[in-house]
């Protein structure tokens, strides 16, 4: 069983939700990435989504764009991200790490080399934003053969056929984008998410995480009522952005603890 599956199984057994925070590797500084990852875990994260910076993050809003730009200015690259994951694995062998990014850095490295290097570094899955299922069958197969999960997005506008497609090609969990637009955009429509979740959870037959637009403990709890996992990105990047360097790690841990506590108030399985 993969590390991701293990995490969801034990959470489900105890009726809890997965908390999946996102940070961009190399932001605000490469030497803070591994400490930030440990802080996320200490604060109560179950899985970490680690952003691989790209020069042209077309699907991201201003907050994650800025994180990406800072990371690139700090010399971050896919190769260096993998080295950071290795460092993290030196003292953490349980928390799954999912890389989130864009296709081009992976294609520049070469899919086979990427899969081998990511597997060796201790990566558990990859979410490549601009690889929809029909463009990445070979990539998804290679990842699975390397023991990693290809994670896919679904959106409020996804069709029944789309849901079946990602169920076939994806594994680990599905990431439901809870609003139209880019990461970090405004309003989250709880009613829409609640209405769509049962059909999607049943349709894909694997855990479903919801993200884009979750900004605090309260919105996390409300989403957690209906989903298996809650993904928080831009809000954590803002915490990093707004903290003095030497306090970023502590403030991020503190923020994640607040969300964890809210999620743990939820009773029973997702509705």
């Amino acid at each position: 069983m993969s590390r991701i599956q293990t995490v969801f199984q034990s959470l489900q057994a105890s009726g809890r939700r997965a908390l999946i925070p996102f940070i961009t590797a190399g932001d605000p500084a490469p030497e803070l990435t591994v400490p930030l990852m440990h802080a996320l875990v200490d604060g109560g994260a179950d899985i970490i989504e680690l952003g691989v910076p790209f020069s042209d993050p077309m699907a991201d809003g201003p907050t994650i764009q800025r994180a990406s730009e800072r990371a690139l200015l700090n010399g971050m690259s896919l190769r260096k991200v993998l080295a950071l994951v290795s460092d993290f694995r030196a003292t953490n062998s349980d928390t799954p790490v999912v890389l989130m990014g864009y296709a081009n850095p992976i294609e520049a490295m070469g899919v086979d080399r990427f899969v081998a290097a990511a597997g060796a570094a201790g990566v558990d899955g990859a979410l490549v934003v601009d690889y929809p299922p029909e463009e990445c069958e070979a990539f998804a197969r290679a990842l699975k053969a390397g023991g990693m999960d290809p994670i896919f997005l679904l959106a409020p506008t996804s069709t029944e056929q789309r849901i079946r497609e990602v169920a076939t090609i994806g594994s680990g969990y599905i990431y439901y984008v809870s609003l139209k637009g880019v990461t970090g955009s405004g309003a989250l429509d709880f009613n829409d998410v609640a209405a769509r979740m049962p059909q999607i959870r049943q349709g894909v037959g694997m855990p479903v995480g919801v993200g884009f637009g979750i900004r605090d403990a309260e919105s996390a709890r409300r989403i957690g009522e209906v989903a298996d996992a809650v993904v928080i990105g831009s809000r954590i990047i803002e915490e990093i952005e707004n903290s003095p360097r030497d306090q970023a790690v502590a403030r991020v841990k503190n923020f994640v603890e607040g969300v964890r506590a809210a999620l743990d108030q939820i009773q029973g399985a997702p509705r």
Partner: protein, 403 residues
């Protein structure tokens, strides 16, 4: 080397030109592209739609654009005869408007009251603002903050036409970042917004749709050249930024045997200097802006900044169909430097009384290299994609003149 099928029938149903093209976008955009695909299929198979497109091209743009035999330029070069396809005479001064009219009509068919566009130099932005005014649509143009500064006249032109110009502060603050920002707007406002992409790039169906609308250029040439010269040209030459004026003139010639297709990229300060915008001749395949194509990128797959004296060629990618035409050897791709393009610019002014766009001057510069190596009975057809009014400032500055 792969060979192009005959007859040429690309892209496939999912927008692939061999290994290039495709739909590399986030799931949130997939339904919008499916909707666009269906609408475009309906439009292009609808005789009333095509008749209106042709009517607009004739009465609003001024088509067909003439072909002109540049005799003095040909004589001065002392070799092959140079003919110019005069896209510079179109309303708004370039080929860009052909595509904007086509897409605006698709937008109207889809019931979208708001159009958005990305622009570099501002030519596509001006063309989009123009057709938005013509069809009574709201128009927002994204433009890199750097370009807004460099192209003040075009920014003002767009505002006169009623468009809102949004400076983009992210990334390198140039064309590619404007494209990213337009995509973000689109994914957020899909319900009422149509994204008019300005070249043969982006996710399927854009490369195909833009090519189809621009193919009017080559279709006219197929008729005009035999009328003027008794035959088709030996070479068709066009500059390549994103590749729309080149695809427009190349596409109808792909199945015409014996016609060389030559795309001219911007070598900027020279291919070896690293300061250029030559994705096909100086780049490697990758994925950007929704398609797989040749890109200018670092070893670890980050898109790098480009350089060209001509803002319209200053783009790190290129339409995927050009990538395919290159690999299949149906077209040849070459480049000329800023300096060579400027020399060609001045030559055309002096010898023919035509002020060309700096983009088009790249095609002219290569024709000027090729012509003397060929006998006088050979024919080179050059796509004069636009006029140079917009480039006055750049050229004057190079000559040390301030207005």
């Amino acid at each position: 080397m792969q060979t192009a099928d005959k007859p040429y029938r690309f892209p496939d149903a999912r927008g692939h030109f061999g290994p290039y093209g495709g739909v590399f976008v986030a799931e949130t955009l997939i339904p919008a592209l499916d909707e666009l695909n269906a609408a475009y299929e309906a439009c292009r198979n609808n005789p009333a739609f095509m008749a209106e497109f042709e009517y607009e091209l004739k009465h609003y743009v001024g088509r067909p654009s003439p072909i002109y035999h540049a005799r003095r330029m040909s004589d001065a070069l002392g070799g092959a005869q140079i003919y110019l396809k005069r896209e510079d005479l179109n309303h708004t001064g370039a080929h860009k408007v052909n595509n904007c009219i086509g897409q605006a009509l698709v937008a109207r068919y889809m019931g979208k009251p708001r159009v958005i566009a990305e622009t570099g130099a501002g030519q596509h932005g001006v063309a989009t603002a123009t057709v938005a005014a013509r069809y009574g649509m709201e128009c927002v143009v994204y433009m890199g903050a750097e370009d807004v500064k460099r192209q003040a006249a075009n920014v003002y032109r767009m505002k006169l036409l009623g468009a809102k110009v949004v400076p983009v502060e992210s990334g390198s603050r140039t064309l590619k970042d404007a494209l990213n920002e337009a995509m973000r707007d689109w994914v957020t406002n899909i319900h009422n917004t149509f994204y008019i992409i300005g070249t043969v790039a982006g996710p399927h169906p854009y490369p195909m749709m833009v090519r189809d609308f621009q193919a009017v250029i080559g279709k006219e040439c197929l008729v005009q050249m035999p009328e003027m010269t008794g035959r088709q040209p030996d070479c068709v030459i066009a500059c390549v930024g994103g590749g729309s004026n080149a695809m427009g003139i190349f596409h109808p010639y792909i199945d015409v045997a014996g016609v060389r297709l030559i795309g001219v990229e911007a070598y900027g300060e020279g291919l070896e200097s690293g300061r250029h915008a030559a994705s096909l001749t100086g780049g490697t395949p990758g994925v950007l802006h929704g398609n797989r194509t040749y890109l200018l990128q670092s070893d670890d797959g980050q898109i790098i900044e480009t350089h060209s004296i001509s803002a319209g060629l200053d783009y790190p990618g290129v339409g995927p169909e050009h990538a395919w035409l290159k690999d299949s050897d149906r077209a040849e791709y070459v480049g000329v430097t800023d300096e060579e393009a400027l020399a060609a610019f001045h030559n055309l002014c002096h010898l023919e009384g035509i002020i060309p766009a700096l983009e088009s001057s790249h095609a002219l510069a290569y024709a000027a290299k090729l012509a003397p190596t060929l006998p006088r009975d050979k024919i080179l057809l050059v796509n004069l994609s636009g006029r140079g009014d917009k480039d006055m400032h750049t050229v004057a500055e190079k000559s040390g003149i301030q207005f």
